[in-house]
Subunit: 286 residues, 4 copies
């Protein structure tokens, strides 16, 4: 059977990426002392040279299927390792490609403790990425990231009201607060391990307060006070995350890429507020 | 050309509704002293008897297209009138149908004034529905609704903190507050007019505070105080809307259907809180 | 601490439902010979009498948390059993409520075999619902449903082209085909078991063809032929599902509720086509 | 009142971008012989130096509000001009910023003619972007883009079936076809005009066939034949767009950025297929 994809092309332009999006599979991931099953969604791509008409997309699905099947027998250490394995496999399966890109997202659960000591299973998002570069050094770069929902209380409205009223009471002043979604993605260089749970802890402690799925009244009161004692703009959240990253990952090299984005679903506006920094550890240390 | 849709069917079950969703068109609507263009999305359906294989879906598009074209020349009084005209047209075009259903949604803008007197163009959602019933009396029932984004401040956390601290200061006590989305849909019987702008006003004044797209600091302070002086559960918002409805629409008959739903995107939780009432004006008056 | 929620209310209207949406947790479900972990999303509600200001929303989270925790130790037979347990627990925890409603959705995976015999892990959606009715008989009604992505090929365009060209070849005639999403929800009465996998099989075989995540060329050709040999309107898909349901579930009582909805993301239109039937097994048997 | 945003910061990291997302407003845009009202959604950002605590977000809303208000009196030539004006205004209003970024999206409607000559109002998406660079040359770069929904028919399955059956009939062979969404964004340098309608025409003619909201049977048959006579991979669609761009915009300079992305919602898979090229006109001409 002739290879339709391998035929010469009329408009011989190379393509930056060709692949599939929205492939969802259960994967098994090792956690301290256990294995967890995550429902992971994959987007995978390779580049395409000018002379090749089409990319063999079924090979992408084979690459994903193989690592997913393997994870059932032997849980992967992390989603970023899974992404890296697929990125490598894509270069093997697409001989014409020089680059590959893999992105995996999944919901992820951690048991947390409320201020009053109650246990609550909380939802977080995981994001893992890997970029393959044939003949590059390293051949595959991988990143691991987390998406955390928390709370921000606005420092500006709080100060406005304090000034207007001259309030000097023992309690923090009222302000608007809201749901905040902050994402942190960190490159994980060869030979270095980065724990997603540590990234969750960094982000969660950088907001005005964490959120919990179950709160009885004393816990609710504590959280509201905590948030008002730590009023934060989205800008503050991003900088706090950057500061904690620099301290926590002193052992990682300068070239490591970092991306932090914080979005507040403003309670006094119909729109959202966003702050973002895309950089390297080296730039942050300068 | 034989009519494939009209053929006898193997599995002769009638169908509750058959139609198209996600048809988007610009429509022209009359407002006091002007006409506005809205980008409206239509879902339209008819029922199908057991003996008819398929519904002629292109007739649904003709029904929509005709009223949209007409609105360019002669702006419609309201989206619910447009929905009613389409519901009637669907019964005309589908001789085999006994019921029709039309739902139209659109973004809608009103100029509002902030507490400090600044003008701000605010976004709301419109929802119009019409149900056709061949031979019914009336043949078409229509409903008009609004979707409003505002703010709720939690009464419970406020009281918890007040009790724990014994606070008795002049300012309201801190609490969590968040983005709230409340929808109100009201039947609009023949011969009675219901203004969407009035529904917006009812919903917006039933929340802890309205939201605005643009707020300088004194306005922001005022809104935050307003929200904390009117702490509301989602339950309170729904009941406040119901109470205002009963007072405002004393002239409407008992049979008029009412639906109110309020959802708070909780700032201290990762989930949302929801309250809803589906009823009639008569039941509310009892 | 006074119970803010239990206070008398200014606008004493009862509420149809009050609760929380978007609570996501991992749950463990028994499958033949194994247990699978699903990432499930819960919406849970109770009604609220006129004299009660607020519903104690944290009790909803306790009800969810308890069954989720229990499932880790003892996997539940199905999501609908989990929903029913929560619906019962909600009535226990909210003494003022007379009704409860629970909806759970999750992605779910089954190993399927392509026409050429290749194994492929395919994604489906599960939907489980339970309605509690204090003092009712039964006190809790539960439903189990599936969401299946497949393919429909249009019978009408195929016939149009055949007529225009007088084509009488051995191969089916060209037509437009597209991604179709069909949902089937069936009540599962006390003492009767309904297997989600059977519902998946019923829906999947009612479309023009199933879809697979991985297809090499011979499989792709087979599927395309299969779809063109079974051209189906959305109306046909719904009726085919209804017909198979009646045959498969002869043992279930007449009162059992049935809901089937099929949506084709039309390839020749920008909108979707939808057909739906909401009924009971008794009506279908008449 | 002290400027909270202007205060010194604890973690003095600069931020890549700070701003607001999801601001929706009606804007008036000039079209040949008329003005149309679009419901536009804005995301706007500036960068933030290390020494400035917060960005004054209300200034972003003032920048948007001003150009939107002006457009009512004097419709803008295009969304990209609106974006450029806002990008310039952001640099004026945020003295500490060196960069600004604006993204505007809107639904947009064009009257098209079906193969059989029927008029149909079709929906497209507009995307306009502008990047401000204080002291840069030019100070603001703007891009205009379109999002088009059309149809692709798979060349590979068609050939597989033709080979297996030895079919040599006059009609094209059956294959799978599906909804395709292709986006083209082109930089529009100072002194050069790019018409969004031309971009729509380029993309629409690069797919296997266009789609229409209303099709009677002869039109439906024609479109299905057209699609099967032009089977296209997503790779083919992107290259066809690139080829037409190079021919159509010979007058534009080499540095002009180009981005094309085509996504097919596969009818035989549950996932999507995607191809993309990000480049410059100069690279395409090489």
């Amino acid at each position: 059977m002739p290879d339709v994809q391998a035929r010469g092309v009329e408009n011989a332009f190379k393509l930056t990426k060709v692949g599939v999006t929205g492939v969802t599979k259960p994967v098994s991931v090792k956690r301290p002392g256990r294995a967890v099953t995550l429902t992971a969604t994959f987007d995978v791509f390779v580049d395409l040279p000018a002379h090749q008409r089409g990319s063999h997309l079924s090979r992408n699905l084979e690459a994903i299927g193989e690592v997913v099947d393997d994870s059932v027998r032997d849980p992967v250490p992390g989603l970023e390792d899974l992404a890296a394995t697929i990125a490598r496999s894509l270069l093997d399966r697409h001989a014409y490609a020089t680059r590959s890109h893999v992105r995996v997202t999944a919901d992820y659960f951690l048991e947390k403790t409320t201020p009053m000591g109650r246990r609550s299973l909380e939802r977080y998002g995981l994001v893992a990425e890997a970029d393959g570069d044939r003949g590059g050094s390293p051949e595959v770069r991988r990143r691991i990231g987390v998406r955390v929902v928390g709370m921000t209380a606005c420092p500006c409205a709080m100060e406005t009201i304090r000034e207007e009223t001259g309030e000097t009471g023992p309690l923090p002043t009222i302000t608007h607060n809201q749901r905040n979604i902050t994402t942190l993605v960190l490159e994980e260089p060869e030979g270095h391990g980065v724990e997603a749970d540590d990234l969750v802890a960094i982000v969660e402690s950088s907001m005005s307060a964490p959120t919990f799925e179950i709160l009885k009244r004393p816990d609710e009161g504590r959280l509201v006070r905590l948030a008002h004692e730590n009023p934060r703009f989205v800008e503050d959240v991003v900088r706090e995350v950057l500061s904690r990253l620099v301290k926590t990952y002193a052992r990682l090299p300068d070239g490591v890429s970092v991306s932090v984005r914080s979005e507040s679903e403003e309670s006094i506006h119909k729109h959202n507020a966003v702050a973002e920094r895309v950089t390297t550890l080296g730039e942050l240390r300068a």
